[in-house]
């Protein structure tokens, strides 16, 4: 097995894990949303990576014969996933704004302390 065959996937997995770790470990609510975005962007890269063909070109039909096209399907799916990601981000950040207004902080541990107190 050639290590280079899957090198891209290793990078993508690293990125996913960095994002996932930020979500799980950071206390700051905005930081968590940033982590979520890194995580999702990495998943998008995973799909796009699998759609690539050696010596291929973008799936926009050209006149030349023997053109190899990359797979359009993962790209279509990922357009949807990007949109879902930005929708989630917008909603999450709107919640963060309201949490700041109600609690005066956006640090998870301080919010928990305030919740327990009330």
């Amino acid at each position: 097995m050639n290590l280079l065959d899957h090198f891209n996937y290793y990078v993508v997995i690293t990125l996913m894990m960095v994002g996932f770790y930020i979500i799980m470990a950071r206390n700051n609510l905005v930081k968590k949303v940033i982590g979520l975005n890194i995580f999702q962007a990495a998943v998008i890269l995973m799909y796009v990576t699998m759609g690539r063909v050696h010596d291929g070109t973008a799936p926009i039909l050209a006149d030349g014969p023997d053109v190899v096209y990359s797979n359009p399907l993962p790209q279509v799916l990922m357009l949807t996933a990007i949109v879902v990601g930005v929708a989630t981000t917008a909603l999450g950040l709107a919640l963060v704004v309201r949490i700041q207004e109600n609690y005066g902080t956006i640090e998870e541990d301080e919010i928990r302390a305030l919740e327990d107190a009330s």
Partner: protein
């Protein structure tokens, strides 16, 4: 694997890791924008101009602007707390291990014989000129073959607007009034 690929991938990992370590949230948001642009660049290298275009517009554009706007309304410093936490680290490493385990039987990168290039996709590439007649196959699949998905996607965007309006419409509450 070319030098361009290697360069982009290295930069991607560096930006992602530095976002994790940063205390200044403004910098983190801007770095996320860079991360997003870099992934868009790599998507272009991977022959996906449509996805790259969208990622650049959304990730580096809308998402980053929203993050900065939120920081303007909250605070731009993250409180100090330990970077390494055992339980999250364990969960993340376990997840990563499962993914690495998954790569062991994956088709090689760019292999034209991989199942996804042999099934379904050839139909789009070969028959869409007769069936739909749009040169950009991504558009053909997006709007027609999988048009139902895209309708769902439009609905997701609409849902986001409903959600944000439901949360932020009207005058803001002061922390003093709320507590």
């Amino acid at each position: 694997m070319t030098y361009v690929d290697a360069f982009l991938l290295t930069l991607l990992v560096i930006t992602a890791v530095s976002v994790a370590g940063m205390r200044n949230l403004f910098a983190a948001a801007v770095f996320f924008g860079i991360y997003s642009l870099l992934s868009a660049a790599w998507m272009t290298v991977l022959d996906s101009p449509d996805v790259a275009y969208t990622e650049a517009a959304v990730g580096a554009g809308i998402s980053t602007v929203l993050m900065l706007a939120t920081l303007g309304l909250t605070s731009d410093r993250e409180k100090k707390d330990p970077i390494l936490k055992p339980l999250p680290l364990f969960i993340v490493l376990a997840t990563g291990m499962v993914l690495l385990y998954g790569t062991l039987d994956m088709p090689a990168f760019g292999d034209p014989m991989a199942p996804i290039h042999q099934h379904v996709a050839p139909h789009y590439l070969n028959d869409s000129p007769q069936e739909i007649g749009v040169p950009n196959i991504v558009t053909a699949v997006l709007a027609s073959y999988r048009g139902y998905d895209t309708m769902g996607e439009t609905t997701v965007v609409f849902t986001a607007a409903v959600g944000v309006l439901a949360m932020l419409i009207g005058r803001r509450q002061r922390p003093s009034e709320a507590s």
